[in-house]
């Protein structure tokens, strides 16, 4: 059974149809790339899956559960996490706090225990710190734990975002243009990173990306969107030669 099944998804913003009759199935442990020209609706799909928007029509089934229109925090606690196209870290807070916040759903103590720092509070907080530091260490940024997020260079901020998403212990990870603004060297490191976190955490990954080096390098399967619908689907090498895809990208200069 697919871990994620999207059926007949449609979404309008006022008069503008952003998504139109989208169908998509993602199998467990797959690494699927979502590509398409700007404005094709890729981030909107992520927003709908993660619960930011309630779709105008359609169904989204995650691990057998209907999640379309459910609140974002619930969806996250069910096992879907994401990063953002424009980094949305909690800028004034420290890197460690950014990661700890994502543990909200997992820290098992009540408001009352928090008000007096009693009961399960201490142990749960210890666990949260441990897990957070481990994640930071895995991504190679544990030295920046106490730095304010806004003071980090761009590349490290992207890593913090990934660590933060991983902190929610997801089964499905949505990465929105993780390679934006990176040079080829950094893209190589990112590819290694995505491979290793996929293995380490048993993840299924959906990836929006414009950088074809990354897409071709790691995606097992591609989904091509244009004007809110799927125009092609298949293995990367097949998609490369698909006439519909070439037509959609015509006019855009992309290196394959």
């Amino acid at each position: 059974m697919s871990i994620l099944e999207v059926r007949d998804l449609s979404h309008k913003f006022g008069g503008l149809t952003a998504i139109s009759g989208l169908n998509m199935a993602v199998e467990d442990h797959e690494l699927v790339g979502v590509i398409g020209p700007n404005g094709a609706g890729k981030t909107t799909v992520f927003n709908i899956i993660s619960g930011v928007y309630k779709p105008s029509r359609g169904s989204i089934v995650f691990e057998g559960r209907q999640i379309a229109g459910k609140p974002p925090s619930l969806i996250t606690n069910l096992g879907i996490a994401r990063t953002f196209q424009n980094i949305r870290l909690f800028k004034e807070l420290s890197v460690l706090d950014n990661i700890r916040i994502a543990h909200y759903g997992q820290a098992r103590y009540s408001s009352l225990e928090a008000l007096f720092h009693v009961g399960r509070f201490r142990d749960e907080e210890e666990r949260v710190v441990e897990h957070s530091m481990e994640l930071l260490s895995l991504l190679g940024i544990e030295r920046s734990a106490d730095e304010q997020a806004k003071n980090l260079p761009y590349g490290l901020q992207r890593r913090v975002e990934i660590a933060r998403a991983l902190a929610t212990r997801p089964k499905l990870l949505l990465l929105d243009e993780p390679a934006a603004g990176m040079n080829p060297n950094e893209i190589d490191q990112l590819m290694d990173l995505i491979h290793s976190i996929r293995k380490e955490f048993d993840l299924t990954i959906l990836l929006i990306e414009h950088q074809m080096a990354l897409v071709m390098g790691i995606c097992e399967r591609l989904l091509v969107l244009d004007f809110g619908e799927t125009i092609a689907e298949g293995k990367p090498l097949d998609i490369q030669n698909d006439p519909r895809v070439l037509e959609a990208y015509l006019g855009e200069v992309e290196a394959w």
Binding site: T43, N47, V52, F84, N86
Partner: protein, 291 residues
Amino acid sequence: MTYVFQQALNGLQLGSIYALIALGYTMVYGILTMINFAHGDLFMVGAFLCFVLAALLGLSFIPTLLFTMFGVACIGVLIERAAYKPLRQAPRVSAIITALGVGLFLENFTLALSPYPKQIPQFLPNVTWNIGDISLSALQVCIIALSILLMLILDLVVRRTMIGMAMRAISWDKFVAPLVGVPVNFVISVTFAIGTSLAGAAGVMYGLAYPVIDPYMGIMVGWKAFISAVVGGIGNIRGAMIGGYILGMLEILVVVVFPSTYRDLVSFTLLLVLLIFRPYGILGKPVSQKV
């Protein structure tokens, strides 16, 4: 029934005053995204300036009105330059506290200069007309007509002049406007001047309608006008006008049905209900975020 119409006239009168003050709030908010909490106190300063000009210097109506509007505008621009301009890049809350501080300063400075409430002389002819059972006083006509006139002029300025276009440009995009040649500081000062002059005019009218004035009168009236601006949709000029009239009418007409001690209670509860159904005000639009 005639009682209701009579009170409706009073509501229009009060609403005109709220609307004029609300316009100042909304104009400043539209252009700076800042709530000028000293605005209500500038209204009070207008009333006191009116007193000085009319009672102490003996000027007649039109000169008093014009000089008061001009005077309050000058004070408004002075405050903007001295206290608000330096904080344009600072967190919003600092600007808010500064505004509260300026307001407190104005209240207490006026109090220090004038410890006892003052009375505005009646310098409008005491004429009333009777339409059926309803009596209409020259004062009411004057206030309502003058307010509508000022609002029409403002609407014209904002929609038909270069400076109005500049104001709208800055309110839409604060960063790009200077890049295309809009003299931001000048336009902001003009906005303050216009907005505060309207509050000054409101002060004159309030002084005529409710002749006893005191330094703390701006507080409640100011906050009510602020609520009017938000109810109409903050940043929206038409909204401020609508909001002002709604609050004015609500306040007066509520007393028709409920005991007068319930006036504030019922008006504010109804406003809250309105905000629950239209959380961004009547003409306001939520600022959509790109996720």
